[in-house]
């Protein structure tokens, strides 16, 4: 029973990180109909910025805030410089451009920050919390991770639903032409969408890097699972991203805990594939997809 609790809690923590990446991919997808393969790389780069700030100022929170700000800037910059020129072109071109961006960012990280492992500090203590004498398998920092992602998601939901900026973003995602006719600067809205996605990615990077150590390829695996979570939940649904992330995190934790040890091999990726196949066979557009519409 204790084990179950430990696996559940650690699954939720990783799941929230996948959810953050998934949410950033959903944001970009809803706005620009584009898969951003560079999301993990952008998160890694902003985390490097954070660690440089932390070492210079000896303040974790300064690094945290600057990482998020850098995420906003990097997201907007990527959209303007690299993605905007691909509008109107075949859809795969933009995907290749983001792949090129990923490779470029990883190369630049290696050039500027070196290729060694960097130790990234957690915001709070990592010694496990206990109930009575039994360790729960989570620490105060883990709770912070889950809470940070949750709070950011809720804030974004509030922004989208209750502010006029959010309304503009939803309108532009709904129908760009009509939004333009209503006077909305759709181009600017798209840039803001990418900026917010960059912020989410930066948050994910800062939260998960203590567990992965920081090096140019550190976010690659996290991105793959974040993307899988987004697909499971449905790329048009922010709620789906969060649910998909949690589902994936929990499932992988249970698989590693209950099955992995007995077989002695790492089944994580096979389990993720299995879940993906099952979900997509039942709901080809993800769990939270609406009714399928066909254009005739």
């Amino acid at each position: 029973m204790v084990e179950f609790l430990q696996f559940t809690l650690s699954g939720i923590v990783f799941g929230m990180v996948y959810a953050a990446i998934a949410l950033s991919l959903v944001l970009i997808w809803r706005g620009t109909r584009l898969l951003n393969f560079a999301q993990g790389g952008m998160a890694m780069f902003t985390t490097y910025v954070a660690i440089e700030v932390i070492y210079k100022t000896q303040s974790y929170w300064a690094g945290f805030v600057i990482a998020l700000a850098a995420g906003l800037v990097l997201g907007a910059a990527c959209e303007l410089a690299v993605v905007r020129p691909t509008t109107g072109k075949p859809e795969l071109n933009a995907v290749i451009v983001t792949i090129g961006l990923l490779i470029l960012i990883e190369g630049l990280a290696g050039i500027f920050f070196g290729g060694v492992y960097r130790s990234f500090p957690p915001a709070f203590s990592i010694t496990g919390l206990r109930v009575g004498g039994t360790p729960l398998g989570v620490s105060r920092f883990d709770v912070f991770v889950a809470a940070a992602v949750l709070v950011t998601t809720l804030l974004l939901a509030v922004v989208f639903r209750y502010t006029s900026a959010g309304l503009r973003m939803r309108a532009a995602a709904f129908n760009a032409t009509i939004a333009r006719l209503s006077g909305i600067r759709v181009a600017r809205v798209l840039t803001v969408g990418w900026a917010l996605a960059g912020l989410l990615g930066a948050l994910a990077g800062v939260l998960v890097s203590p567990s992965t150590f920081l090096y140019p390829n550190s976010m690659d695996a996290i991105f793959v699972y974040g993307f899988t979570a987004a697909v499971i939940g449905g790329l048009d649904s922010p709620a789906g991203a969060v649910v998909g992330g949690l589902l994936l995190g929990l499932a992988l934790s249970y698989a590693g805990g209950y099955v992995g040890g007995s077989i002695g091999a790492d089944l994580t990726s096979l389990v993720a594939l299995g879940i993906l196949v099952v979900v997509l066979m039942l709901r080809p557009d993800g769990l939270f997809a609406g009714a399928r519409m066909r254009r005739v």
């Binding site: 060694v116 990234f120 500090p121 140019p216 695996a221 992995g260």
Partner: protein, 447 residues
């Protein structure tokens, strides 16, 4: 952009690429051997890659990609030693040119870059090729081309195969020997305690476990957990280790996963005695990985506190200023390689380069490729190694032994004698009674 504008860009782009292509083709790197011989010293172009003034060797290394952190420091360190030798007379006056190419730990790329080095760049030998799956992709090619394949940077036992791979020589202490040495220490010092293994799910971890099992009674082993480098969430494995009640955990893990093992153990309130393979225990690397956590977990200032008490082994001297080899290599590092960290990888790279220079001096004034192979088959002095090197016509293993040490204040402190052994199930682990060598005055092996 407008169609006509874009068309202009396209033409310009194609023209630029064409120009670059012509430039590249015309500056292809082929080594032309000069046949002029000096009137005083008869240095000749005695083999591919050797000219009267240079020796060119090649290697494949993971300079980028997930396997790069840490390992990418080894080749620059070797190169630094070679530059030191070049500045101090070279090898019989020839300078060593070390071309190491990036394979990003992908065997397909390894196959390609090694063929480039051998077929196009005509290197004399392949030195210190890094990685087991990567090097396996090129070992038959190198042997069929009769290119010396010396001091492979991998502890796999597979390089010791003189009948099938006569050109290939191992270098570091192989994982089976290491498992036996660590295993004997654990069996003798933790009698009756519960032992668990934590190992990487490849031949590094599995060979290590094989060696451990030769020495540790099976009744003591309560759990065996493996991990893969692509999955950093080892919480389930650590939970299983804790649930097994293990009092000693023997880890055949790379530094990142040794650090993660420590972190997750902290989280679960699990505090076993850690015994870690030399591959994963470099104190500098480990404390670097853990330094951001030291403050949070209530420990004192730096990551050293978290790694105190870890038991490990060493086949090269510890990184301490009381060791003459360390001082020599640090001096060379500060002159030629100063930007890289002073950790176990740098020491390893320097030791490999030193061993190669030993072999080249022994190979003679105008060596052929076969001369290098016979030089190593004739045995090499152990240099910085703490135990003798096994090279002979029937044995292509390098290091044969190591000492057990405990990490104290960020340094591996030797406890007890150097132990030597072999890779068989029944071969005993015995203390080495010979002495270690000290470097010569200028740090270059004598010719």
């Amino acid at each position: 952009m407008k169609r006509s504008q874009r068309l202009r860009w396209q033409v310009a782009a194609i023209a630029t690429v064409a120009a670059l292509g012509v430039a590249a083709c015309s500056s292809s790197s082929s080594s032309t051997t000069t046949s002029t011989t000096s009137s005083t010293a008869p240095l000749t172009a005695s083999a591919p890659g050797i000219t009267p003034t240079t020796i060119t060797i090649g290697s494949h290394q993971p300079l980028t990609g997930p396997a790069a952190p840490g390992y990418s420091e080894i080749a620059p360190a070797s190169n630094a030693y070679f530059q030191y030798v070049n500045a101090n007379g070279g090898i019989y006056g020839r300078k060593i040119i070390y071309k190491y190419l990036n394979d990003a730990y992908d065997p397909t790329t390894t196959a390609s870059v090694v063929r480039q080095l051998v077929l196009q760049d005509n290197v004399y030998a392949i030195f210190n090729g890094l990685g087991t799956p990567t090097h396996l992709a090129v070992v038959s090619f190198l042997n069929s081309e009769k290119v010396p394949d010396v001091f492979v940077a991998s502890g796999c036992d597979c390089w010791d195969n003189p009948t099938t791979y006569p050109e290939t020589f191992g270098f570091q202490l192989d994982y089976i020997r290491e498992g036996k040495i660590l295993g004997q220490y654990v069996a003798q010092n933790f009698k009756g305690k519960k032992i668990a293994y934590f190992y990487q799910d490849d031949e590094f971890g599995m060979d290590g476990v094989k060696g451990l099992n030769y020495e540790i009674p099976a009744s003591q082993v309560v759990a065996q957990e493996s991990y893969v480098t692509t999955n950093v969430n080892i919480a389930p494995q650590v939970a299983a280790l804790r649930a097994s009640g293990a009092q000693v955990v023997v880890a055949f893990s790379i530094p990142a996963f040794t650090a993660l093992l420590k972190l997750y153990s902290l989280k679960l309130g699990f505090n076993p005695q850690l015994v870690v393979s030399d591959v994963g225990e470099d104190p500098i690397t480990l404390s670097g990985l853990l330094e951001a956590f030291a403050k949070q977990s209530g420990a004192t200032v730096n990551g050293n506190a978290l790694i105190n008490g870890i038991i490990s082994d060493g086949y090269l001297p510890a990184l301490s200023t009381s060791d003459p080899w360390y001082n020599l290599f640090v001096k060379i590092h500060n002159q030629y390689d100063a930007k890289e960290p002073l950790d176990g990888n740098f020491f390893y790279g320097m030791a490999a380069a030193y061993t190669f220079v030993e072999a080249m001096f022994k190979a003679g004034r105008n060596p052929t490729r076969a001369d290098l192979v016979s030089a190593i088959n004739g045995g090499l002095p152990q240099g910085p190694f703490v135990a003798p090197l096994a090279y002979s016509p029937t044995d292509h293993d390098g290091a044969t032994g190591a000492y057990i040490g405990i990490i104290q204040n960020g340094v591996l402190v030797q406890k007890g004698p150097v132990e030597i052994t072999d890779t068989t199930a029944t071969g005993a682990v015995t203390p080495y009674t010979g002495s270690e060598q000290t470097p010569s005055a200028n740090g270059i092996p004598s010719s």
